[in-house]
Symmetry: C2
Subunit: 159 residues, 2 copies
């Protein structure tokens, strides 16, 4: 999987493809892709941005799909648990996975200006951190990697 999210792309297709990929995957795995779950995924796909659980909840409320925190959190838990979305710890917020289906150790590039989030691949078991860990005998199982900075277009705007 390559970094994406900062590049121009057909975003309508991006949403449709994201939803239908997850739909297919749920069928495969016998998971229930219910209306709330589908809608939450759509909301996350809308902007390549991280959304807080309460942002999601507000939208659901407007649409009559649920009004209490557990509704949003349950849908998000489902999506995260099955790898269809990720939590950005730094922001206490969530993004749709850019490549649902493949299991991976995601890394994120977060623009501090426009809040867009791109997903990259960076298995931490390779590289310097992996070496340091191996050196002390630490076994890495999962990793939170969240890089913050300026995306290309915000660098342009700043100049």
């Amino acid at each position: 999987m390559e970094t994406t999210g900062f590049e121009r792309h057909d975003h309508g297709a991006c949403i449709r493809d994201g939803v239908s990929a997850v739909d297919a995957r749920c069928r495969e795995l016998g998971l229930q892709f219910t209306p709330v779950r589908r809608r939450v995924l759509e909301l996350l796909l809308e902007g390549h941005r991280a959304l807080g659980a309460y942002d999601i909840l507000d939208r659901l409320r407007e649409e009559g799909l649920g009004s209490q925190p557990p509704v949003a959190y349950r849908a998000l838990d489902f999506l995260v648990k099955h790898g269809f979305a990720h939590k950005i710890e730094r922001l206490n917020a969530f993004v749709a996975c850019a490549c649902p289906g493949e299991s991976h150790m995601p890394a994120f590039l977060i623009c501090r200006q426009c809040d867009k989030v791109a997903e990259a691949e960076a298995d931490m078991r390779d590289g310097r951190l992996g070496e340091s860990a191996a050196a002390v005998g630490f076994r890495i199982e999962r990793a939170v990697v969240e890089a913050e900075g300026l995306c290309p277009s915000c660098q342009g705007a700043a100049a």
Copy 2:
């Protein structure tokens, strides 16, 4: 700086040195290393473990050093802002910096069993993430890198 925290070491010295390093650094920079701030740093140094703000606050309360959340948060903000401690986003908790004074891009190895935290160095601008970021023109300014897994002694215990 090397990973530390999982290896045996003279921990009394570890605390003393940590505190006096910060003390010296504050003198250099003209910062006020007040009793609350000092005590919070000592608490963080106590276990090479991440402590939540309210854990800290409980200890402060017992000791009559303050009883409301802002007291703990302000001390933690001070320590984090000046690089004497770090926040572990994954845990909403804080650890003392293993090498106060040097500015760095820290990475953490977090044992999911015993909750110990070791600090490693892993500048994300190198390596695969750096390449991915460069490829899309993203400029990394800071990074949260938190690897979770099993420390050497917990691997031993599990077997």
